[in-house]
Symmetry: C2
Subunit: 455 residues, 2 copies
């Protein structure tokens, strides 16, 4: 069980838990780089104006002020205008800062620009399970200057599936839908307020089909058959491309619907052949954010659906604009803290030890510290994490130090210069040479092992 | 030349610059882990009360408020008390948060606790060269529960020298002094306000010896010979342990002085033999922070002294207390952003390319994308970062895409299934097998090369 954070909504990890998080971050970075994504980071703060451009999120934002300014009230009033201009706040996601970064640096970037970005974000929401006030997101996006071929929507699904598959987490389902498909369908059945329909459909999980049908009728003036058709579409879920026939069977004709069907078919077809079982066409997925225009993705951990989506995103026709240039993109964001909180909280995976150290070099006498450092240097030079005892306490005490820290091996150097190394778990002790000895591969570094679930 | 940040004091890097920063961070992490330091992160925020406990830094702190609360003024007044209780601010260093972390988690940590922590910190200071408002620090500390042997002061100097030596930076000097040595000396010559003397000595670089002598006389009532003695001590700088004799030659007898001399001798002696030329005993080093009690460290880049210290720290007898437990420690903090800003700004080192990608798989026709993905998977499986073209444009256009992004190799698959790979820099093209081909080691990943300085 994870301890409670001393400040609600701001989780912190113990060293052994942090190793799980580092492992997750390392896998993500490596996967993204193997697929040609460049790392960037943006500053933690944006101007308030930048953050509020999209509306709807103002209550979640943490604004910044210099403590001294806050305390001197008279000064405050005279400078309030200047302050408002430059008012800063912590970013609440990595998409808004990325959009600004792309516009500011467009002249220096090669498009389509592929970037990954792993950083903390902050939201002043009420903390709850799976929702923190400070949390790490790992985003990938491809952004073009002008036009971005649809194939990137397929590629990003495959990249994310590869990344998530490598993590120490339970099975997941990447649920994919397409806004064009849904909007075309709604128009095809005569419902013009497609955003309104999507908002209602988005409530399916929470309030159920019947209540959604009532909403559609009461708020959007849908007829009974229109509401039934919209719900029929939302009920379609397939792990292969058979959703296409299921949609066609509903008998709705619309050009945008056809385009969306074709796009979603490409994503699901590629995923079904390259990563069978991990992607599902789920025609109920709406995603709240208004700027998605085509593909939308979200992801649930099987058996942990209550956690909410651990990876979401989609296609946006215009991430940003600069003069008459427009930057369309497609991207996904992994909720790293949400994932790690669940892994750590339910011990879905654990680190084999809490310290990087594989070997402790003991001291026979206090003056042998420099020689012990030589041994340590030789081992470190070959990638073996090594500590040196600081005092020539009784060997039993030095071994106990290693044991307490979870260091698997202790090293002894005799007066004649010969060396021995002992596995303190088995008690096995053998002769060793600093220039060649290495621990077994599984002891070289802390390993993160998935704990088999007990049904 | 680095571009100007769009928000003064909040630097951001282009992808190619970010590779330099990542390289620096990777080296630090690897070195710290090889020496048995565990990674932790603390939340970005602390309570204002926690941050201000040490006094003197209030004007630099960024306080947080929820934007919505700030906008509703009436609500603000009624809740101001509650707000003050839980007032949050961004941390301005990693030491204060680490002290809190140690106290909160003391029951879960194995002492002496060795941790490294690499995170952003924020200070609302006026930005200037080498001083940002948001910057990354990389800290290492060893903290004990009760007593921490002095040898850790020696060890940490060696760890930091090893870490800095591995970075793509010019030569550096780790300047070491000892508070006990200085305080014992001042007391030995009859100056009781040792903190006052240290404060004056700290101004040596800025105002010169004569002005410091005047300060000592005017503010601390020092006699001419006391002032001269204090300055004589501060003028001692040696790369070996000869400083001991130079101090003794000043003829001052004091027990604390002797203890300090012995401690500093241990640090300099170990460094002189294990890392000759990188450490200097500099008896003028005072370090402003009051909590240092013994060893103090600071570091300058040779030829870049105007940058200020790029790595500082020291020994503190009590990092934190919990009931009647006290946690002494010794640690250093590397100014990563300060270093990287200088490297990037003066192009002291550059990345060999701006993308991780080593190979672009071209498409002969649009339908061959799945086969191209197979080739890419084979290469990625062996650690080769690979992108796949999304469209079967003319090969010239696909090669141009690779060239524009700095991808060194392009891959062609013929209709008969045979493969060729071309180095677009040399034009060399050879047959290749996805299961075995690899780029030369220097092209596998972007390399960070130090640019030789032109005198």
């Amino acid at each position: 069980m994870a301890r409670n954070a001393s400040l609600s909504g701001f989780p912190e990890w113990l060293p052994q838990e942090r190793l799980v998080e580092l492992h997750v971050l390392d896998i993500l970075r490596r996967t993204f780089e193997l697929h040609g994504f460049s790392s960037i980071e943006t500053r933690a703060v944006e101007t308030v104006g930048q953050l509020l451009r999209k509306g709807e999120i103002d209550k979640e934002v943490y604004a910044l002020s210099r403590l001294q300014e806050e305390e001197s009230d008279t000064k405050r009033e005279t400078t309030s205008d200047a302050k408002a201009d430059a008012a800063l706040a912590l970013h609440f996601d990595l998409t808004v800062p990325f959009a600004r970064y792309v516009v500011e640096n467009a002249g220096y970037l090669a498009f389509p620009f592929r970037r990954y970005q792993i950083q903390k974000v902050w939201r002043g929401e009420r903390p709850q399970d799976g929702r923190a006030r400070e949390f790490t997101q790992a985003d990938i996006d491809v952004v073009a200057d002008g036009e971005l071929p649809f194939r990137y929507d397929v590629e990003l699904a495959l990249v994310i599936v590869e990344a998530l598959s490598a993590l120490p987490i339970p099975a997941f389902k990447l649920r994919v839908n397409n806004r064009r498909l849904a909007e075309g369908f709604y128009r095809g059945i005569g419902l013009a307020d497609t955003a309104g329909v999507l908002r209602s459909i988005d409530k399916l999980d929470k309030i159920g089909a019947e209540a959604v049908a009532e909403l559609l009728k009461a708020e959007l003036g849908a007829t009974d058959s229109q509401a039934r058709a919209a719900l029929a579409l939302a009920s379609i879920r397939t792990e292969d491309t058979s959703f296409v026939d299921q949609v066609r069977a509903l008998g709705v004709a619309n050009e945008l619907l056809e385009q969306g069907l074709g796009e979603l078919e490409q994503v699901v077809s590629a995923a079904a052949s390259r990563a069978p079982g991990s992607v599902v066409a789920d025609l109920s997925i709406a995603r709240g954010l208004d700027y998605y225009t085509g593909t939308v993705y979200e992801t649930v951990l099987v058996g942990h659906e209550n956690l909410g989506s651990i990876c979401s995103g989609g296609r946006y026709e215009s991430l940003a604009t600069k003069g008459n240039r427009s930057f369309p993109g497609v991207g996904l964001s992994i909720g790293v803290t949400r994932l790690v909180s669940r892994i750590v909280g339910q011990q879905l995976a654990v680190a084999s030890r809490s310290v990087p150290t594989a070997v402790l070099i003991t001291l026979a006498d206090d003056d042998s510290w420099p020689q012990a450092q030589d041994v340590a240097s030789a081992l470190r030079g070959r990638g073996i994490a090594t500590e040196v005892a600081v005092k020539a306490e009784k060997f039993g005490k030095q071994i106990k130090y290693a044991d307490r820290r979870g260091i698997p091996f202790v090293w002894f150097t005799a007066e004649d210069g010969s060396h021995q190394v002992k596995d303190i778990r088995s008690g096995n002790q053998t002769a060793a040479d600093p220039a060649s000895w290495a621990p077994p591969a599984e002891d070289l570094q802390p390993l993160i092992a998935v704990v088999p679930s007990t049904p």
